[in-house]
């Protein structure tokens, strides 16, 4: 469950404040997978970052008793000068895994990501697809209540997309996702409910179909 109380978030631009959320109060119930829709720049990613605890509202509070993954996005959360292996180790360490668990996690991520020798190369040599593979594979070794996924399911080749979706379906038996995607088939497949972010307001829809419809109306 996620609760937003009078949350306001804006960015200062040269033409004044641009509101992402304007005094939004709402509750996202437990045990549903949430799809986020909105135009580019509407604030989907910012909302995800706030839920992930690395960005903060200008006023109001967001509370949840649950644990969240880091926002898995295209840009990444990886240090470019470190190798894939070192980054995986780093993340395992900050989550307090033991040495034994770290070794096992490394094997699991390596196997899932299928990036071969690149696993021991600096991240800056990776393509964005490879980064997403690593990021997604890494998230699978933790037990979060919510996985925060920003567009990463639609990268990579067909083969990997299928593999990711399969892994995600297995994962969401035990956890929930907050998913940003512009791909309607993926949203329909994974999400139960939808949130549309538009001009500082949030529209909560009880079914993903309804959310897609709302989103299409905005775009007309």
């Amino acid at each position: 469950m996620i609760e937003l109380h009078n949350v306001t978030k804006y960015f200062k631009t040269s033409s004044g404040k641009k509101y992402i959320l304007n005094n939004v109060t709402m509750t996202i119930p437990s045990d549903v997978n949430v799809g986020l829709l909105g135009r580019n720049g509407a604030g989907k990613s910012t909302l995800l970052r706030m839920l992930g605890g690395i960005d903060f509202p200008n006023s109001g509070i967001i509370t949840s008793p649950n644990s969240f993954s880091w926002p898995m996005g295209l840009a990444g959360g990886f240090q470019g000068s470190m190798t894939g292996r070192q980054n995986v180790k780093f993340v395992c360490r900050i989550y307090g895994k033991s040495d034994y668990e770290i070794e096992r996690s490394i094997e699991a991520v390596k196997e899932f990501a299928e990036i071969g020798d690149y696993f021991d190369m600096p991240i800056k040599t990776y393509s964005s697809g490879m980064k997403s593979r690593l990021s997604f594979g890494l998230s699978l070794v933790f037990d979060f209540d919510y996985l925060i996924i920003d567009e990463t399911l639609s990268v990579g080749d067909k083969n990997f997309q299928e593999k990711s979706k399969k892994a995600l379906r297995k994962k969401i038996e035990n956890c929930n996702v907050l998913l940003v995607s512009h791909s309607m088939p993926i949203l329909r497949e994974i999400c139960d409910v939808g949130i549309v972010v538009h001009q500082g307001q949030i529209y909560y829809c009880d079914t993903i179909e309804e959310a897609i419809e709302t989103y299409n109306n905005i775009n007309k």
Binding site: R49, G52, G53, I54, D55, F56, S67, F68, W70, P71, G76, G77, F78, Q79, G80, S81, M82, Q86, K89, F90, V91, R93, I94, Y95, G96, F142, D143, F144, D145
Partner: protein, 259 residues
């Protein structure tokens, strides 16, 4: 997931950051350890050489090489702590994607790392001193250690303050670079305060680093005293920047994270 206390999280984050910094700083290609020793060694050789050119009489009762070595090891420890803290936020920006990692942790990590680097460099200096048969005996080891620890806290205070300010105002980082050059020449590294004419003595004592260096020298060498060390002045220079640094850090932590 199991809940951890913030202290447990802090410890595991600092450990993870520390291991990461060690890997990137001292990777096989970068000769990190070499530079750590070379910096101070180079200065010792240059100033010992200059001194022997200018005048033949050296400081009575102590080896000038050892004097320079203590000066530059201490000065570079402090300077590197400040410089490394200053760039800590931007160097670890990508890792702020994990909510456990706070900018403060990156500064603490870099202070610890510089402490390690300096310890390695000091050990190598001691070995060289023993090999060459120099007189490296310490008058009061405990007080020297106290001075070094205090110097590290002073470095952390200035470092944190500088890190926060320079993150928002690039100008501040440039000023710090100039200040460092100024400090290099005025921190009683290659002279003692006692050897200066009275007016210069008075001016130089406004530099807080002078007191730290004089404290180290005074307790290290039998031939030198800590007469000019003003502990109260050192305390002010530690506590006030520490307070300013922490105050502005906690006010701007969220801005640093989300920028």
């Amino acid at each position: 997931m199991n809940k951890r206390t913030s202290m447990e999280i802090f410890k595991s984050v600092v450990l993870a950051l520390f291991l990461r910094e060690v890997q990137t700083r001292f990777g096989t290609k970068k000769l990190g350890y070499f530079w750590a020793v070379f910096d101070a060694m180079f200065m010792v050789l240059i100033f010992a050489g200059l001194k022997s050119l200018i005048s033949s009489k050296s400081m009575p009762g102590l080896d000038f090489h050892v004097f320079l070595a203590t000066s530059f090891l201490a000065f570079f420890l402090w300077k590197n702590i400040v410089n490394q803290s200053m760039s800590a936020f931007s160097a670890n920006k990508a890792l702020f994607a994990y909510k456990q990692v706070k900018p403060f942790d990156t500064v603490v990590t870099r202070v610890l790392l510089e402490l390690l680097v300096s310890s390695v460099a000091t050990s190598i200096f001691v070995l060289i001193g023993l090999y060459l048969g120099l007189d490296i005996s310490v008058e009061n080891f405990n007080m020297v250690m106290l001075a070094v620890i205090w110097l590290v806290v002073f470095g952390f205070a200035i470092g944190l303050m500088t890190a926060v300010f320079s993150y928002f105002y690039e100008f501040y980082a440039k000023v710090m670079k100039i200040v460092m050059i100024f400090l290099f020449w005025t921190s009683a590294l290659m002279f003692t305060v006692d050897s200066l004419p009275p007016l210069a003595r008075e001016i130089v004592l406004y530099n807080p680093l002078v007191h730290f260096i004089e404290m180290i020298h005074g307790y290290y060498f039998h031939a030198l005293s800590t007469y000019y060390v003003d502990y109260e002045y050192m305390l002010y220079w530690t506590l006030i920047p520490l307070w300013i640094g922490l105050f502005f850090y906690q006010r701007s932590e969220k801005r640093i994270l989300s920028s």
